[in-house]
Structure formats: C-alpha cells, structure tokens
C-alpha cells in the first residue's frame, strides 16, 4: 500500500488540506494541518500566473514569490515534511511551467527524493500527458488528475487512463474559492465517477465550513479544503498555525464522523 492508498483505506473519508508553499512559516503551518487531523496534504507550488485560482490563492502565490520562494525551497519544504511525518501523504499541486522548467525527468526525480507521493498539475490535461505523466509514473509519483462538471462520459476514460492516487473532482466549473456546488449535483457526479473507476474520489472547490465538508463526506472518499485555509495564513501570518489547527480540527471531525449515504 502506498501512503496515498492507505489514507483512503481508513474507515472514514479523508480530509485533504491545501496551503501554498513559502507563504508564511510553511513547516509550522503544515504541522498544524497534520495535528488538526488532515489525512492528505496538498502543497501548492507558487506560480506567477495562477490562472485557475481565485483571489485567496492568487494572493498566497504573490506573497510566497514576494518572499523569494524558489522551486528548490518548495522541494526542501517537502523533504523536511517527509522527515517529520513519515506516514502522511504529500501531494504537490501547481502549474506546468515551474514543473517542467528543468525537464519533467528532473522534476519527477526531485519529487521522489523529497518523498512526494503525487502531483496535481492544473494545466496538463490528459491530451498533453507526455509533458509530465510518464516521468512521474516512472519515479513512482502518482499523477493525480482533475475531473470537472464539464468532463462528460465520453471523455472520462481518457481522464482516468494514467491517473493514480485519487481522482480530484472539481465540483464547480470555475476557479478556486468559487461558490460551492449543490450537494445533489456533487452526489450525482461522484456516483458517475465511481461507476467508472476504483480510484478514490476527493471533492473540492468551494468547501469552507465543517458543515459543507460533512455533507460532501457522506458521498465522497475525500473532501478538499484550500482557500479557507490559505486565507487564514494571509490573515494571521506567524500566528496562523493555531488558526489552521482549529479550522482543520473542526473539518476533520466533520469529515471523519460522516455517515456514508450509499449512492
């Protein structure tokens, strides 16, 4: 079992939390997410042009790059996290250009060395998989793909081919930090996805509160929370960890105690 598959094999749905690397004291912030009960960590790689992100994550990217965060620093943060938390799955999430800048092979090898379990690249769809996918798979890093409300039945097999780790269902057609989709539409979509794949399905975009997270956890294998956490980092700076811990605890409790509603 990989770290990722173990996280989704727990007797309860998984809480997946996102923050941007290099925004604030990232090590302390990541520790707070783990202490709060996060099952999977997504670490955002900052990019100058985060065109799929809303205001909160855009600003986190600007803060991080403004503080001088480099790719080497992101990898150092990941490696240090792996040393402190040998069992907690860590996924890098970001955009293609910083990932392929020194070559896909270089990036995949560095991820493997740092103990990264998976990579989500927002702007590499399955059609362009050869830009990064083969290198990741060769190094045992899971390429985690996104499915969206616009991913139709005909297209889904292509999205799933070569996908590993889990499938990230983006519940709204929009950027991060958007309004949440209705619970029914999420339930329908997850059922459709699970009819076609054995990969765990985690649902994100627009999830901010424990109540929302609980609702999604009834129908999905995981719930992803990003903007709400990133906003706390922006608001609280050095004292962000305690706020992150508190929000994560509430989310984890809600997600972990959710009663599965059979689809």
């Amino acid at each position: 079992m990989t770290r990722l598959s173990s996280a989704f094999a727990k007797p309860h749905p998984a809480l997946v939390t996102f923050i941007t690397a290099g925004d604030g004291d990232t090590a302390a912030n990541l520790d707070a997410l783990v202490e709060g009960g996060a099952d999977v960590i997504e670490l955002g790689m900052p990019f100058t042009d985060p065109m799929a992100d809303g205001k909160a994550i855009q600003e986190a990217n600007i803060r991080s790059l403004g503080a001088g965060t480099t790719t080497a620093e992101v990898l150092r943060i990941a490696a240090a996290f792996r040393a402190r938390h040998p069992q907690v799955p860590l996924v890098l999430m970001g955009y293609a250009n910083p990932m392929v800048r020194r070559g896909a092979e270089w990036f995949a090898a560095e991820c493997a060395k740092a103990g990264v379990d998976g990579v989500i690249c927002v702007d590499i769809p399955p059609e362009e998989d050869d830009a990064l996918g083969p290198a990741l798979r060769a190094h045992g890093i899971a390429p985690i793909r996104l499915a969206t409300p616009t991913t139709d039945r005909a297209r889904l097999p292509q999205v799933l081919a070569g996908s590993q780790g889990f499938l990230y269902y983006v519940s709204v057609a929009g950027i991060t930090g958007s309004q949440q989709a209705t619970k029914q539409s999420i339930a329908d979509a997850v059922k459709r996805l699970k009819d076609t794949t054995n990969l765990p399905v985690a649902v994100g975009f627009g999830v901010r509160t424990a109540q929302q997270a609980a609702g999604i956890a009834q129908v999905a294998d995981g719930v992803v929370v990003g903007s709400a956490l990133v906003e706390l980092v922006g608001q609280h700076g050095d004292s962000a960890p305690e706020h992150l811990r508190r929000l994560t605890q509430g989310l984890a409790q809600a997600v972990h105690s959710a009663q599965r509603v059979p689809a």
Binding site: A52, T71, P98, V100, I124, A147, T150, T151
Partner: protein, 404 residues
Amino acid sequence: MNQLTNSFRNQPDERGHFGDYGGRFVAETLMPLILELEREYRAAQADPAFTAEFDGLLEHYVGRPSPLYFAERLTQSLGGAQVWFKRDELNHTGAHKINNCIGQILLAIRMGKTRIIAETGAGQHGVATATVCARFGLPCVIYMGATDVARQQPNVFRMKLLGAEVVPVTSGRGTLKDAMNEGLRDWVANVHDTFYIIGTAAGPHPYPEMVRDFQSVIGREARAQMLDRIGRLPDLLVAAIGGGSNALGLFHPFLDDPDIKMLGVEAAGRGLHGEEHAASLLGGSPGILHGNRTYLLQDADGQITEGHSISAGLDYPGIGPEHAWLKDTGRVEYTAVTDQEALEAFQLLCRTEGIIPALEPSHAIYAVAQRAKAMPKDSVILANLCGRGDKDIFTVAEALGVEM
C-alpha cells in the same frame, strides 16, 4: 507528396502541435469546450456559407481588401529597396485585429454562445471585439491590465462607447498577460454561455491555427496585389510581433515560396541585454503558459517575468507557438527593435508618407529602414502596416517630452 511533407504550411498536427510547440495546456474544465470549438471550426471551414459571410463582412464592414501601397518618398529617403506597405491600418477600427474578431464572433454565434469576453493590451483587440459585439448584439466584457488602461485611454473610451464593459486587471504588472489570466478565469466559470475571443495567434489549440487562418487574408490579398501591380512577389516580408497574428497573417501564404525571406520584429524595449524587453524569441526560452508551449520570458524556476515595451500591443512575455516553430526551423528570421528606434521610425513614416503608424508596426518600419538601405534598388520589401497611431499619440508625446 514530397511537396507536401516539405511544406511549412501544413502545421499544426492533429494535436495542435507545431513541432515541439503549441498544444492544449488548459485546465480540465476548459478541455471539452476547446475540443468542441475545434469541431465547430472544422465544420465552419467546410461550410461555404460561413466563408461567404466572413468574406462579405470583411469586404463591406471592414473595408477589405486593404490597399497595397508603394511608399515612394520613404523608399527615396532610404535609397535602397522599394518599400511597400499592406495598409491594414485602414481597416475599420484601425488595425488588423478586426479580421480575426469577425471570424471568431461568427463561430461564437454558430456555437450558440451568448456572451463574449476578450483580453486586450493596446486596446486594439478590445476595440475590435467590442465592435463586432455591438454589430451582432452580444454582451462583451474586456479584460485589460490596469497599466494599459492608463496608457491607452482613447481605446478604453472607445470600448465603452461601443457598449463593452472594461475590467481593469491589477494583478501582476497590470499588462496583457494579466488580462489573459483574468480572461481565462472568467471563461472557466462561464463555459456554458461564453466565447473567449483570443486576440493573437496564441493560446490553446485551435486558437493559434484559427487566428492565423482568419488573419491570412492579409497575405493572400498582398500576394495577388503584388502580382497585379508589379508582376512579381516581394523579396522580403516584415512584420511586428506581439503574439504574432499580423505577422503570421502576412507570412503564412508565402511560407512555401523559398525565395521570399521573412523577418519578424519583436520589441526590444530598453534593450535585449537587460530584462526590460518583450522579445520572447530572442530573449526567452521554451515553456508552458496560457494554453501552449512556446518561447517565454521566464526565470530559472519557470516564473514568468514581466516584459516591457513602449508599445502595449507588444508587451507580452509569450509568443504564438507557430513562430516558435518557424524560428527553430529557420524559415523566418527574427530581430528586435528598441522603444527609441520605434519612436524614430514612427516619426519617419509620419513625415515621409503622411501616415501616422501605431507603435507596434513602427518596430517593423525601423527594421524595414535598416534592411532597405542594404538591399539593391530593384528589390522589394513588403511590410505590414498593421495599425494606425491615433491611439498612441499621448504615449509618443510623453516620450518626446511634449505636453498636451
């Protein structure tokens, strides 16, 4: 067969790749839409009614064909090759941008889309988009970097007069790339009803191919006009390059004429040695941005760096993928011209020909002047005069230290 495999005119491949460049590097949300756009574009290409409507609008609304003009006094003053201009600055709205907007809005209507968005740098593409939206009665939102809003006020007001909503974008340095990011964000959230009219031959497949095709009317006309006027084709084609659409529009119909040389002119801003330029081909390296793999201005970590040009329409850290491929294959030569040189050429054309050019083609005109001097008098240069300079008079006045 041999002819075909040696052609420079049969790119991209079915995945939208021009050699190593191009492609469809977009978020999954947009992917199905882009595939649908491609299907619809293929259907439109095969539909004589679509072509007829496009041609009709270009003739009666845009004012095509644009004249082919022999710049006699400029030629005399340079003392070398004959200089000819393709006068796309005489188009309705004052630049080549409208050719592409007509094509794309017809596609949008064909696809049943009811809302149009676009990005703009100089405001020429924004004005052209706002114009076709008014013409066809569709609501229009234009994203424009806040810096560009400030330096292209006349065009901002034009867009508003035409009924468009102009949204200033403050992220980044507030120029074209930031406007494009915001356009993409809008599009992802409104895929069901919105068509994104991209203003240059860049972005995800099929945009680079589609925009090139719509702009190729420039080169097709020029070819026929040259043969008609002097019974031969030019020796050298010259065009300014922002994203590369006016250049491809001129070049593409000539790419398989081996004797015709081509020169694309990037913006060298304050000089290629520093960081304050917008020359992605000459001063950048390959990477992935805004849906395609192409040459970019970027640092060692792949972070996009902000370019600079006095010309808002050239101030973009990327370039259409077909140019990246044409550069690597060596079919087209690329050079760069500084702000200062462009200003010189701007004034030269004003005084020798009575034509106030936009700052974008002023870059091309400078390169034309350099090359013409070194070429024999019986040789012919054809340059794309892709925009008029009314929008730039405030920028030029400021650069020349004139208070208005």
